[in-house]
Amino acid sequence: MTRLLGSAHIETLAREESVRGVLVRTVIKQSEFADEQELQLLEDALQLLLKRFQAMDGEAS
């Protein structure tokens, strides 16, 4: 199964000096100690937040 965490896109976002970057870094850090269930939850939450960020950027542009 393809994971969102660990993808190139997420790694790029993690390097950002922005709230989004901090968020992605936090999720990656938490995922290191997470079990399967927690990992799934983290991915779902990250996906939801990234969609909202995208919507925000879309509105701004």
């Binding site: 922005s18 968020l23 079990d35 939850l41 779902d44 939450a45 990250l46 939801l48 937040l49 909202r52």
Partner: protein, 754 residues
């Protein structure tokens, strides 16, 4: 971004006057009333408009306009405003003079129109500031510098410091919270909401149906007219085969466990014999433990990979079964409660209002009967009889009501008692779960139960391996070490019958062959079952049957497929409940993650700003104060004596000016994102003593090296220093200026002084 020039077409005392600036430190010098502050004020007036038009409108003229020219990395921005009409023209061009963005329209100081919003958004994008107060608090330092401690300004400043639109993140948080509270009334961040939401309604409906437990299998309709005999026969065969398979799978698992255990014992025996001959008695158990712990680790890894938490205690199945039992009890109690509530609602009320009206009517009748001359006695008697009858009926009805209510109360008490016992058991169970490091919430336990059911075999292996590793349990090695007389009769059979190596190996081989045959047989039956199910599916296309087959097929496959299959066999309500639970958990996690991220991001930038401002403030005060701290409202405090923090209001005007100057310079340095405006200082040093003035000037000089700083002053000493330091000087002589001065190259300003 630097301010290249200000063109004052008709502004204050200036007409057709252009002031040019350069990168670095610019000094606008002139006596009082020369127009220094007018030039300084032209910047916010053009950018944001003004409330003090009379201050800038030339006397006797009907024109008041000015333009600003900014130059940034690879682009220029020109803003022109007619202050009388608030008509603004903004044009952004790239290096090749191509227009990148532009605005032309009305944008008054306090405007709220769409064009005004559009203009401010463009300003925000280009220069990072779209608010006059924020501009004055950050890029402008006059005689009365704008302080930072105000709620609205603090939010904007935090946004500016972190370089992000914090308000947007607050909006995302709001939308997440709104979505959460549309789904459930439960509030993990505060008090629960009053009104039940969809999740609570679904739970209530489920509990009324007595359907609160897990998946509810959907059965094929027995009297389905479409199902013919062959399909019924097929179903019967599938059912029988399924039962057979279930039994055989259990047997197979037992066999696997037995062989695993046997192998472990044989290994232990071998190790023990070797150790007996070669090593000290104290070291005999170690290799066994190492190997056993190695097995444990592998199993634990596999369990963790399967989604189970690490180090699961052997009491887990018992705990989960207890939890399920308690949940069933609590769910079973919901129905009597609902029935009781319904009965209580159905108990007829005494119509006190009607009775009151009737009594008033009877009294009125009695009064009329009393005062009229005919049939007084019969009428009064009739009224009296009616009144007595009415009161008797009311009393009877009230007594009946009380009786039923009392009965309901007793039943409720009994139910409450039962519920209390269940809740007590639940609390004890939660405590046990907490003590064992397991999740204690019902949702987590149900999930854990599903996982345990899926990976039961693996768990059994893990626990049996853990048991053999446990020093409290008798191991094979210890059995060997013991005297024959000390052997316990309760030890496992395998441990009792310690075999010789060859015999043990032979027996193990035989067992493995048997198990392999058994597994092959099992696979054949599973294939047969699958085949039958496919036949049945092709015969019946109803969604229920498909779902059932999907479950069975999925049971042969991975946990994800199983989960999907289990979901497909749930009732719609149960499915909705599970979806809601999943969504709520995701929303909560998202809210927490985003709030933490925004907080951490702001904090990290605020720390940087504090450090930078502290450094600058330390330089201005000659090291007397070296630490500045901004609280969450951006109100600064100064560290005194190296330990105590004092709010800025406790200090003299000179120190306050110094701190706000340091903060503005620090902000300009921290926020170097290519959108920062130049810092404009309009006679900022009037409250500073000579010593601090000298240090501040050094600092200002240093700070301007990376960008642009425009200093307005009447101090001639500064003019001398400007000549020495080669600052760009714009002289104002105090007379009314009507024409553009000779732009004699970049040394024009200094030549004027010379």
């Amino acid at each position: 971004m630097i301010l290249r020039s200000i063109e004052l077409e008709s502004f204050g005392r200036f007409r057709g006057y252009t002031v040019e600036f350069r990168r670095g430190l610019n000094l606008v010098i002139g006596p009082n009333e020369a127009g220094k502050s007018t030039i300084a004020e032209a910047v916010p007036a053009v950018l944001f408009g003004t409330d003090h038009l009379e201050r800038f409108k030339p006397w006797g003229r009907n024109v008041c306009s000015a333009s600003l020219f900014f130059e940034g990395r690879g682009h220029t921005v020109e803003v022109k405003r007619n202050l009388l009409t608030d008509e603004v023209e903004l044009v952004e061009k790239d290096d090749l003079y191509h227009v990148r963005s532009q605005f032309s329209g009305n944008a008054p100081f306090r405007g709220r129109s769409a064009s005004c919003r559009e203009y401010r958004e463009l300003l925000e994008k280009l220069i990072g500031v779209a608010d006059e107060r924020l501009f004055r608090a950050t890029y402008f330092f006059g005689h009365h510098p704008q302080s930072w401690s105000s709620d609205e300004l603090a939010l904007k400043l935090r946004t500016l410091v972190s370089g992000t639109a914090e308000a947007d993140y607050a909006e995302i948080l709001d939308t997440l919270l709104e979505e959460h509270f549309q789904l459930t009334r439960s509030n993990p961040w505060g008090r629960d909401k009053q009104r039940d939401r969809e999740y609570e309604t679904v739970c209530q409906q489920l509990s009324e149906q007595g359907d609160d437990e897990g998946a509810v299998p959907i059965f094929v309709e027995i009297d389905n007219p479409a199902s013919d005999d062959s399909q019924v026969a097929l179903e019967e065969e599938i059912s029988a085969l399924r039962d057979e398979l279930d039994f055989e799978r259990q047997e197979y698992e037992k066999g696997q466990r037995y062989i695993e255990r046997f192998r472990q014992q044989a290994d232990i025996n071998k190790e023990t014999e070797v150790n007996k001959e070669k090593v000290e008695p104290s070291a005999k158990v170690e290799p066994v433990k190492e190997e056993s712990s190695g097995t444990n680790k592998t199993l634990a890894d596999r369990l963790t990979a399967a989604g189970l938490p690490p180090s699961l205690p052997p009491q887990l199945p018992e705990l989960l079964s207890n939890a399920a039992e308690i949940r069933q009890e609590l769910a079973a109690l919901q129905q009597p409660f609902s029935i009781l509530l319904g009965r209580e609602k159905k108990i007829p009320q005494v119509p006190w209002m009607v009775i009151g009206c009737l009594l008033v009517l009877l009294v009125a009748l009695a009064a009329v009967a009393f005062w009229q001359p005919f049939f007084k006695t019969p009428l009064l008697t009739a009224v009296g009889v009616c009144s007595v009858a009415l009161l008797a009926w009311v009393s009877w009805r009230q007594i009946n009501r009380n009786k039923i209510l009392e009965q309901c109360r007793k039943e409720r008490g009994l139910l409450e008692q039962k519920k209390g016992v269940s809740q007590q058991r639940q609390a004890e169970l939660s405590e046990r779960c907490d003590a064992l490091g397991l999740p204690s919430s019902a949702v987590d336990l149900v999930r854990l139960q599903k996982l345990v059911m899926t990976h039961r075999l693996l768990l059994d292996q893990y626990w049996s391996a853990t048991k053999s590793d446990d020093p409290g349990v008798v191991t094979g090695a210890e059995v060997v070490d013991r005297e024959p007389s000390s052997q316990d009769a309760t030890e496992p059979v395998v441990e009792k019958d310690l075999l010789k190596d060859d015999e043990a190996a032979e027996e193990l081989r035989q067992l493995e062959v048997l198990l392999a045959d058994f597994a092959a047989n099992l696979q054949e039956k599973e294939a047969r079952l699958e085949e039958l199910q496919v036949q049945l599916t092709s015969g019946l296309h109803s969604p229920e049957t498909t779902a059932e087959v999907a479950t069975d097929v999925a049971s042969q496959q991975g946990p994800l497929v199983q989960e999907i299959a289990v979901k497909s066999t749930m009732s719609p309500l149960q499915r909705r409940k599970n979806d809601l639970e999943d969504r709520i958990v995701v929303l909560r996690k998202s809210v927490n993650l985003l709030a933490d991220a925004v907080d951490e991001f702001s904090r990290s930038h605020l720390v940087t700003l504090n450090a930078e401002a502290g450094k600058m403030f330390g330089k201005i005060t000659g090291g007397r104060y070296a630490e500045i701290k901004l609280d969450e409202n951006m109100a600064p405090s100064i560290q005194v004596d190296g330990r105590r923090w004092a709010p800025v209001d406790h200090f003299s005007r000179g120190t306050v000016d110094a701190i706000y100057l340091a903060l503005r310079m620090a902000l300009a340095k921290v926020r170097d994102d290519g959108r920062s405006l130049p810092l404009m200082l309009d006679d900022p040093f009037v409250h500073l003593d000579q010593k601090r003035l000298a240090k501040t000037l050094n600092l200002v000089d240093l700070a301007s090296a990376d960008g642009q700083l425009i200093l307005f002053s009447h101090n001639l000493d500064l003019g001398k220093r400007a000549a020495r330091e080669r600052w760009h000087v714009v002289p104002l002589d105090g007379d009314v200026v009507n024409t553009t001065p000779d732009e004699g190259g970049e040394h024009a300003g200094q030549l004027h002084l010379l």
